[in-house]
């Protein structure tokens, strides 16, 4: 009979419960002693209905140090990192931090992560990008544009650097995001460049897999390359890269003084306000999906909405869950990699919300949200368009432009 067997009573002797376990997991886990077992984390978690151990129960097991049960389940790998658990916790317990700490601690004890995660991390270590392709091919997305974009390859003295991110660089379904953003910037007359083959993965996949101690070289390379170009603004289309630059990097290193880190929606909003971009009319009913990394975790809710409201004829409707209460798309963490069904299950719920408000388009500011929701829409066979905000804006601007 295993220790995790629920049929016999647990005997809380010193051998069975381990009250210093939480401290070994990390400082965030110590705060679990304030847990009142209300279950808010479980109720909020988009994947709790498909995991062996609910967040609330996981917290209780950590508090009591019942490690065999925790590590046997592996439930903590099925986290989309959406941080809804931490948002709704009435005791302010940073549950997502605990899950990430737990992944790190599990690895330190020799518990291997799921194979897919291991391979992903391996790719980042060896190739500096998540797809494992030659890193110097990072500008592949820009090769088939009708009119090539200027200055893309590490041009010194250009103020704005576009940090493209691994997905838009290597995954054809996301090329459009980088293409549209590049063309929008170019059209607005703003000079920008990229780090091209010198751009390395931001490091979030390692951080999320509990390997934050391996972020160092990635961070150092990206910062050094940025400094070499002397840029003052770094802009991303990926909200996870944005979160990593804006929130995580400052925990590990000092960023160049005066460096502005912006998300594409923020920069485009400024350009429209300044009259550098003039959106043309689009008769569309749009709902906006807040990506967890940009919204809940970085605090930017307004810029994308402002931008959408500048498109004439566009009607913006809010879904049942929006802004800080946004519902995960299912594409976060490594869940899409590990368990397609769970990811799809979450995405279906989000797409349902978009359909409920009668939207013809759901717009996000994240390539991963787009991929997850596109899968759900295809599965449901619903006439709902899924776009990144730069794609929609380009559509609105491009009607007026000859390319």
């Amino acid at each position: 009979m295993s220790k995790a067997d629920g049929s016999r009573p647990l005997y809380w002797s010193d051998q069975e419960i381990d009250l210093s376990f939480a401290r070994r997991v990390g400082p965030a886990a110590v705060s679990l002693q304030s847990c009142i077992q209300c279950g808010s984390c479980t109720a909020a978690c988009p994947t709790a209905n498909r995991t062996a151990i609910s967040p609330q129960r996981l917290g209780r097991l950590i508090r009591l140090g019942l490690k065999d049960e925790i590590f046997a389940s592996g439930s903590f790998w099925q986290c989309t990192s959406c941080a809804a658990c931490a948002l709704y916790c009435p005791r302010g317990i940073p549950f997502l931090d605990i899950v990430i700490d737990l992944k790190r601690y599990a690895r330190s004890l020799g518990f291997e992560p799921p194979e897919e995660v291991r391979l992903l991390c391996e790719a980042v270590r060896l190739h500096r990008n998540i797809s494992g392709e030659p890193n110097e091919e990072r500008l592949r997305w820009s090769t088939n544009l009708p009119q090539p974009l200027a200055d893309l390859n590490c041009v010194r003295g250009v103020d704005v650097v576009y940090f493209v991110g691994c997905i838009a660089a290597f995954y054809p379904r996301a090329y459009g995001i980088a293409q549209c953003f590049g063309r929008l910037l170019s059209h607005s007359g703003l000079r920008f460049t990229t780090l091209a083959g010198n751009e390395w993965c931001c490091g979030y996949p390692l951080f999320n897999a509990g390997l934050d101690d391996e972020i160092g070289p990635l961070l150092e390379n990206n910062l050094t390359r940025l400094r070499e170009l002397g840029a003052t603004t770094l802009v991303t289309t990926c909200p996870t890269c944005f979160y990593t630059w804006a929130v995580l990097y400052p925990r590990y290193a000092a960023l160049p003084a005066g460096l502005r880190i912006m998300h594409s929606s923020q920069l485009l909003s400024e350009l429209v306000d300044a009259g550098k971009l003039c959106p043309g009319p689009l008769e569309r009913v749009v709902t906006y999906h807040d990506p967890c990394d940009l919204g809940r975790k970085s605090g930017e809710f307004q810029a994308p909405r402002d931008l959408l409201c500048r498109v004439p004829g566009l009607e913006l409707r809010e879904m049942a869950n929006s802004r800080i209460n946004s519902l995960c798309c299912g594409g976060g963490g490594d869940v899409k990699l590990l368990d397609l069904d769970t990811s799809l299950d979450v995405a279906l719920r989000r797409v349902d919300q978009a359909l409920d408000v009668g939207a013809d388009t759901v717009v996000s500011t994240c390539q991963q949200c787009k991929r997850a929701m596109v899968s759900a829409v295809q599965w449901m066979r619903k006439p709902l368009k899924v776009q990144d905000i730069v794609e929609l804006l380009w559509e609105s601007v491009a009607d007026e432009v000859e390319w």
Binding site: R8, L10, Y11, Q33
Partner: protein, 671 residues
Amino acid sequence: MVNRIDPEREQQNGERIGVFLCHCGVNISSNVDMDALAAESSRETGVAIVEEAPFLCAESGQKQIRRAIRENALSRVVVAACSPLMHETTFWETCRGAGLNPFTVQMANIREHVAWVTPDRAAATAKAAALVRGAIGRVLLQRPLAIRKLPVTHRALVIGAGIAGLEAALRLADAGTEVVLVEREPSLGGHMAMVDRTFPTLDCSACVLVPRMARVANHPLITVYTSSEVTTVSGHVGSFRIGVTTRPRFIEASRCTGCGECVAVCPVRDIPCEFDQGLSTRTGIHFAFPQAVPHMPVLDPDRCQHFLTADCSKCADACPADAINYDQDTSRVEVEVGAVVVATGYDVFDPARAPEYGYGRWPNILTSLQFERMCHPSGPTNGRIVCADGRVPESIAILHCIGSRDTRFNRHCSSVCCMAALKFSLAARWQTGARVFDFYLDMRASDKGCEEFYNRAQEEGVIFVHGKGTEVIYRDGKLLVKAEDIALGRRVIVPVDMVVLAVAMEPRADAPKVAQLLGIGCAKGGFFHEKHLKLAPVETVAPGVFLAGTCQGPKDIPDSVAQGGSAAAGALNLLAFGAVEVLSTVAELATSQCAGCGLCVSDCPDSAIELVERDGRTVAVVKDILCRSCGSCVVTCPTGAATQQGYTDDQLMAEINGLLVSPHSVRSPKT
């Protein structure tokens, strides 16, 4: 003394009745056809007008009644609305304002007795009409009665000198009222004197309590009787006569200096100490506790060698003040007071009644009050938390709800145990570093600062287990607590060195006796019944008797103090007014019909009737001032000489008649 209200309006014939129908929002009108009721009522003899209002009790409704009385020269009023318990006095005052005597107003309860008890609209309307008809029939025969003003004795009695009683006594005395404070134990202080620290601030209980005890004892307006009980109560609001019986201390209070020489020489030293909840022993002659007030020992005659074998007088020999008096006897005094504050406190649940917890069977299982004493610096272990064998416990379990929220014992929540348990868990963590398990059902931390206190205990590493500790067994030197960890969904067995049972607060065992003595009631759980939970929380059904502290229900120190103050305010209200207004619905004895049998004299619970010689006959007469309108004499009197004003036979028969007669709508046109 007797104050008739507007007697010139009194008319015997040609009464003009106003009937007022209240909708009570939709409370009444949703179930009663108000139009039909108005039509039916307007056909009754003597009814001058019928009016309706959404809320008669509101300012607008009262104005409407007063205007109608003046404009229609009404002499009688029927209000069909809610229970008279709720608003009878409201409408009396309303009609008084328009010049009517309150006793010419009659209420018909068409809310609690009609609208709220049936969804059948037709039946409800018929019943409402019958009740209104009865009220009309009765009000026609009602006579204006006087409102009596009785004098008030400017002195108050406080029963019980725990924190609630002390607060009430000080409030009263500081306002210039003489106070008689009666305490059963030999010292002031009550349960709070046993407590180490008070939640959620963790300040020292004695530091705030002892100075109050001293202030009470030294207050020029407070007379303290310790080792005493109230044994008789007679009289009425404004003028109670209270008998106080004092057990002998066998100490001459005037001589004793509190030096303690007697205690030092007493040869009997093995008596379980009540104040330490049996965790220590005391001597035969002893101080109740070190800070006892009055600071005077008390001799326990049941264990004293002098009383048992008559060959010991060590204490008398040792006393430098010659204060020991073996011949002291029970004494009794009678005091007159205008108001009474009852603050008799609570009893602690005996966990031996729930044998599954092993209390009294296994070592190191303590009640909350025992643990309290253990934590107290002047307690049995000088504040050290230790097992019976002197070891410091490495793990402690605290079990909530022992005897509370348990239909076998007490249905109620004892309210303070959750926070007391947190206090214990913090004391245990800080002093011993022990692993502390707190088994709770619901954590009730609703008072100010209490949720934060809960957080603090969590942050100090107390392991909270959602699930009741259900059983304690003993094996291999460990106490094993069985429970379910509901968060885990698993049965658990937790081995510990010490178990603390957070036991219930119960009504005093003699609460029914005290309630009977004072003419107040006990509620379902056994605590004294307040007059109205929300609007009269410290008053009782007995005018002039107020409640304070845990005798009314479990509560913590802040609430007990607040209630002590509130009860004092209630008593002061009465005393400051200087008089009591009472209904003159007293008994009347028709001398011509009285046979002088005296049955009413023996039946009267208020001793308000006496037999006198009048014109050569022995007849009974009523002392108005003592009559509390119970009606016993009316029932007892074999000749029908006794009647109760406001409840005469013809008035009651008229009301019954109105109820039973068929409605106009079905009466034949001829009648």
